[in-house]
């Protein structure tokens, strides 16, 4: 059962595509991340041209984000004020990111840069999460009373535009979430990820947001950055494949719903540890590909 994708100009095996998006959707439902960091390399692996994979993946993440935010909003788990502060930066980051993406594509070095970004970001985030989950598990098994110090206040917190963020119970310069937003927006455009895997740890450890609010607020942000990235990519590079996007969205939405039910079976730090392992595996595989001598030194590219 093959289906021809008109923009990607390749024919793909439909059941496999649904299985991949369903599987990644399952993970995103479990952990509250978009899953883009896993989906985009998988799409490239099954033969979708990288540029189309990144842009179409942004489209799918809009759906994931909306579905997630609606679910979290019911439980009041979204800090819209903070999210909006981040958004002001993300818009800038996304626009800049699409520009860089186009330049790299024309230079022919897009694949390399995207691979390097994935490797560095995924390995650092994966390691941090893994270490943190081990530490939490260690502490809880020792039954120690943990007096966590409130997040450290760096000079960044004292920058101008200081605002109160009542939902999260924080008081800091609005420029701080804005700068984080710039980074997230940039990554969305260049890597085809939602940015969640990076935002979530930053929000917890650096901003000090309560964990329950992080997933929903991050997804709120993801909706707008991915929507903007999708729009810019479609208009600038014409590389969003609407048929592929529809397939991924359907598979992902179904998978996510099952995933959010499965999460009840795991403890918090076990889930984070598992996610950390997945993230690190992807990072290692990509590093492996970059470092080991390739099967074929030559690669071919058709100039469009």
């Amino acid at each position: 059962m093959n289906i021809y994708l008109p923009i990607a100009e390749v024919s793909v095996y439909l059941p496999m595509l649904l299985a991949i998006s369903g599987g990644v959707g399952l993970l995103s439902g479990m952990f509250g991340v978009g899953g883009g960091f896993l989906m985009t390399p998988l799409l490239i692996f099954v033969g979708i041209p990288p540029s189309i994979a990144v842009a179409t993946q942004s489209n799918q993440l809009v759906a994931t984000g909306i579905s997630g935010v609606l679910a979290h909003r019911k439980q009041k788990h979204v800090d819209f004020k903070l999210g909006t502060a981040m958004l002001s930066g993300s818009v800038v980051g996304t626009v800049f990111g699409v520009y860089v993406f186009t330049v790299l594509k024309n230079m022919g070095q897009l694949d390399l840069v995207v691979s390097l970004l994935y490797v560095t970001l995924l390995s650092s985030v994966g390691t941090l999460m893994f270490v943190e989950s081990i530490r939490t598990w260690w502490r809880s098994s020792k039954k120690q009373l943990v007096r966590r110090k409130l997040h450290p206040h760096s000079f960044l917190h004292g920058l101008p535009f200081r605002l109160k963020f009542p939902v999260s119970g924080l008081y800091m310069s609005a420029l701080l979430p804005a700068m984080i937003g710039v980074l997230a927006g940039f990554l969305v455009a260049v890597m085809g990820v939602g940015g969640g895997f990076l935002l979530v740890p930053i929000m917890i450890y650096f901003l000090g947001m309560p964990t329950s609010l992080v997933a929903g607020t991050s997804l709120f942000q993801v909706i707008f950055t991915t929507a903007l990235a999708t729009f810019l990519q479609a208009v600038t590079n014409h590389n969003v494949d609407i048929i592929l996007a529809a397939i991924l969205i359907i598979g992902g939405a179904i998978g996510a719903q099952f995933g959010s039910r499965l999460i009840g079976f795991l403890k918090g730090e076990q889930a984070r540890g598992l996610l950390a392992i997945i993230v690190l595996s992807v990072a290692l595989k990509l590093l492996y590909d970059l470092i080991l001598p390739p099967e074929d030194l030559y690669s071919m590219l058709v100039q469009k």
Binding site: I3, S67, V302
Partner: protein, 240 residues
């Protein structure tokens, strides 16, 4: 005026002047959503003796071949060779184990080793050859440069036919089919036909929409995403 009309008439009629006449069962291959490839029949007639050689060349494309070099621990694409106007698809059919002289093969591009690419760069010849070999290897792996076949049937009275298989991953565009009548290592006659591989109405409409109305296309893509995002939540949310 009459001359113009006459020439126009010649260009639309199936080619038939000279000892060789050829035609195709269909000039259009429509790439639909469930496209699995297609089969076109080339048929024709020859008067007198001679062997038939057919070459099928897909639309031209500019191909860039890169070579990785180990830089600072990573394997990075560093060296490039550009091959402009290469056929995106190539296959050849002959009626017998013809041994054709190299000059003839080179002149008419008979065979994958006679594609004669023009290379735009300053690499030495030996290097360029390595890049070309890599290009051919990749194309063969994608099944776009096919091995020679002997897929021609002679039906008597000079009639012949050959089945041309268009693969599933055939590039979109205009294919050039050259039919040669060869005798004594010389081309007695040659005819050229065009085959159009196009995206089906639906697929082509989507491509055009994406390219020419990009902003609207993007809005549509976003609305689809928004709808399914909302639907997934609405359908499943209460079942927790």
């Amino acid at each position: 005026m009459k001359l113009v009309l006459f020439i126009l008439f010649l260009s639309i009629a199936p080619v038939r002047a000279g000892p060789l006449s050829v035609d195709l069962s269909s000039q259009l291959v429509s790439v639909t959503t469930d496209f699995k490839g297609d089969k076109i029949v080339l048929f024709g007639a020859k008067t007198g003796t001679g062997d038939i050689v057919v070459t099928i060349r897909g639309p031209e494309e500019n191909i860039i071949v890169k070579r990785k070099v180990r830089t600072a621990g990573f394997w990075i694409d560093r060296e490039t060779a550009i091959f402009p106007k290469m056929p995106s698809y190539y296959s050849m059919v002959t009626s017998a184990s013809l041994k054709l002289p190299k000059s003839l093969r080179q002149k008419h591009h008979l065979g994958i080793d006679s594609l004669n690419p023009v290379m735009k760069d300053s690499l030495p010849m030996a290097e360029k050859y390595l890049f070309l070999k890599a290009l051919i290897r990749h194309k063969q792996h994608q099944k776009l440069y096919r091995p020679k076949t002997k897929n021609i049937s002679y039906l008597g009275n000079g009639l012949f036919k050959s089945m041309i298989k268009i693969p599933r991953n055939a590039p979109i565009g205009t294919y050039q089919i050259d039919v040669f009548l060869i005798q004594n290592a010389q081309v007695k006659d040659q005819k050229t036909l065009s085959l159009f591989v196009k995206k089906s109405g639906f697929n082509q409409k989507i491509s055009d929409f994406a390219r020419h109305y990009a902003a609207l296309y993007a809005m549509l893509a976003l609305m689809i995403a928004a709808f399914f995002g909302w639907a997934a939540n609405a359908l499943f949310a209460n079942k927790h």
